[in-house]
Amino acid sequence: MSAIVCSHVDKAYGATTVIRDLNLAIEEHEFVVFLGPSGCGKSTLLRMLAGLENISGGEVSIGGKVVNDLEPGDRGIAMVFQNYALYPHMTIFDNIAFGLKRQKVPAAEIRKRVEAVSRTLGLERYLGRKPTELSGGQQQRVAIARAMIKTPKVFLFDEPLSNLDAKLRNHMRVEIARLHQSLKTTTVYVTHDQLEAMTLADRIVLLKDGVIEQIGSPAEIYRRPGNQFVAGFIGTPNMNFIEATVARNGDGWTLTGAGTVLSLQGGDFHLRHGDRVVLGIRPPDLKTAQAGSANLLQGTADLIEFHGNDALVTFGSGGKEISALVPARECPELRAPVRYSFEEDCIHLFDGETGKSLRRQ
C-alpha cells in the first residue's frame, strides 16, 4: 500500500493556480525529494500534505486515509521546518516533549522517550537549555528530534538544511540519510539543492510551475532526463544545449548547428529529416579530441575555472558558449584553440518546440 497518494491535486490562491492536477504515489519506507526552482510549488505541496495549506481540488491520502479535512495533528505526520521553528520560550526537553504532552502520554514515558531520542541525536547535554543557546546545527537536530519522537507515519522536511553553512549541511545530510536508513519512515523532503536531492532520494519528483516534470530515481533523472528543463536543472556544471537541424545522411543523421556538423547513428532517438532539435551534452562528457575523433566541437578557450581535479573550460563555437569539464592536466591556456569530441551514447536530444526528449523508450 502506498504511504501517500495525491490524486488530481490542485492548489490555487484566488485566480493564481500554484499546483495543477498533480498525481503522485509515494511508497512505504520511501525517501522522496521534491526538487525544483523556487516558486515551483514544492513547499506548497509539502504544506498541503502537512495540512498547513488547504487543498483546492483533488484528494490527498496518507496511510490509506483521505486527509483533506483532517487537522495537521491528526494526519500522522511530523514536520521539520526550514528555520527549525523551535518554541523559543521552552527548554529543549519541552520542545521535544510538546507533541507527546498533547497526546496525553504519561510523564514517565515522555521522559524515557525524550531521553532515547536525544541520545540518538546527541542532544542529552542540552535538554535543559533554551533554543537560542544552541547553534544552528544543534537546533536543527532538536527539530528532527521533535519530529522523530512522535513516531509518525510520514516525515516531512521543508528545506531543512538551507539555513546551515556548507560544511554543516553536508554533515546533517549524512545524518538524515543515516536516520532514514535506521528508522525506515516514509519521508518527503523539499529542497532546491540538487546535491541533496541526488544523495538522499530514492525517487526525485522534479517540479516546475506546479507541474511534475519528471519522477524517477536520481540516476534515471540524471541519465534519462525527460525534457530539456530537467536536463538543464540537474547536473553541475549545467548541460550544454546546442540548437541544430536534423538531416538524413544515408543510414545515419547529421546535426547542423553552432558552427559545426555532427554525424550520428541516431538509432536511440526519434528523428525526422528537417526537424529542429536541441542537442544536450554534459560538460564531463566532452573529451579532449584525439587525431581522427569524430563529432568535434571547437573554439577558443574564453574562460577557465579551476576546480581542483578538473577544470571547466568554456569556449565559443558558432556564437554559442559551450563548457567542457576536463582533467586539470589537460587544461589549455586561456585563449588557446580547443577541440573536444564526444561519444554518441552520451548525448541527449530534445524536440526544438516542446523540449521533450526524443529518446526511444
Partner: protein
C-alpha cells in the same frame, strides 16, 4: 579602547545623555523630596536638600476621604478597564494578526481612529449618553468608557506583537496536534509576552493619568485620583505644596507597582514548569 572613549563626539553624546537623564529623573526626585518637607522648607529661596523630614503631608493625604475614594475609584476603574482590554483586546489582536480577512485593515484603522479624536469630542456625547442611561457619575460608566481606550490601545500595540511571532512556530504546534486556541495560549501569548506587557502597561498608564474624560463623567461619587489631586491646589491663596507633592507621589506609585507586578506575574505564568 581608551582612544575610542576619548573621542569628542562620544564625550558630547554622553554629556547630552547624562543631561537628558538628569532632566527626566531630577523632577521626580525633587517631588519625592518635597513630599517629605514642611511648607517652610519648600518655599525657601535656596533649595534645601538637607531638612527635617515630615510625614505630615503624606498622612494628611492618606487621611482624607476624598483622596482615598479617588484612589479606590481610580484603581477599580483602571484595573477593570485594563482587564477588559486584555480579555477582549488580546484575542481580537491575535485574530486580526493571524487570521486576517478583508476587513482586517479597516479594523486596524478604526481602532487607531479612536485615538485620532480629541478626547473632549468623545467626552461630551458620552456624558450625555451616561446621563440618559442614568449611569452618570458611576464607576460602571467610567469602566465602560475607559475600556474603549484600553481595548483600542492594547489591540493597536498587540497586533504587531503577534505578527512578530514567527508563523512556523505556530505551524509546528499545529503539527504537534494543538488547535488554534491552544496555539494562542501556549505559543502566541508567551512568545509575544514581552511586547504585550508593554501594551498592557501603556494602556494602564494612559487611563490612570486620564483627566478630561474623568472630569466630564464624574461630579462627586466617581471622581478619580487625578481629579481629586487637581482639586487640592484649589484651596485658597496658600498653595499647599507639600500636600500637592505628596499627592503626586501617591499618583505615580500605582503605575510603577502595576508594572512590576504585571511583569513578575507574566513571567511566572509563562515560565515552563519543570516536570
Amino acid at each position: 579602547m581608551k582612544q575610542y572613549r576619548l573621542r569628542p563626539g562620544r564625550l558630547i553624546a554622553k554629556a547630552v545623555l547624562a543631561l537628558a537623564g538628569f532632566l527626566a529623573v531630577f523632577p521626580l526626585f525633587w517631588t519625592a523630596l518635597n513630599a517629605l518637607k514642611n511648607n517652610v522648607d519648600i518655599i525657601t529661596r535656596v533649595p534645601k536638600v538637607i531638612f527635617t523630614p515630615t510625614l505630615a503631608n503624606i498622612s494628611y493625604i492618606l487621611g482624607r476621604d476624598s483622596v482615598l475614594t479617588g484612589l479606590y475609584n481610580s484603581a477599580v476603574a483602571c484595573g477593570a478597564a485594563v482587564l477588559i482590554g486584555i480579555v477582549l483586546g488580546l484575542p481580537a489582536a491575535y485574530a486580526v494578526a493571524r487570521y486576517p480577512n478583508r476587513f482586517a485593515g479597516d479594523i486596524q484603522f478604526f481602532v487607531l481612529s479612536l485615538r485620532f479624536l480629541p478626547p473632549v469630542a468623545v467626552a461630551i456625547p458620552l456624558m450625555v449618553i451616561w446621563l440618559q442611561v442614568g449611569l452618570y457619575d458611576t464607576l460602571p460608566a467610567l469602566i465602560v468608557t475607559y475600556s474603549l481606550l484600553t481595548i483600542s490601545v492594547i489591540m493597536w500595540l498587540a497586533i504587531p506583537a503577534f505578527q512578530g511571532v514567527p508563523k512556523e512556530i505556530e505551524e509546528a504546534a499545529f503539527v504537534d496536534g494543538y488547535g488554534a486556541y491552544s496555539v494562542f495560549w501556549r505559543i502566541a501569548l508567551p512568545v509575544a509576552a514581552r511586547s504585550l506587557i508593554g501594551a498592557i502597561a501603556f494602556s494602564f498608564v494612559l487611563v490612570w493619568n486620564e483627566f478630561l474624560i474623568a472630569l466630564m463623567l464624574s461630579s462627586s461619587n466617581a471622581k478619580t485620583l487625578p481629579i481629586v489631586a487637581s482639586e487640592l491646589s484649589q484651596q485658597g491663596m496658600n498653595v499647599p505644596w507639600g500636600i500637592l507633592n505628596a499627592s503626586v507621589v501617591l499618583l505615580s506609585l500605582p503605575p510603577l507597582l502595576f508594572l512590576s507586578v504585571l511583569s513578575g506575574f507574566l513571567n511566572s505564568v509563562f515560565r515552563q514548569k519543570k516536570s
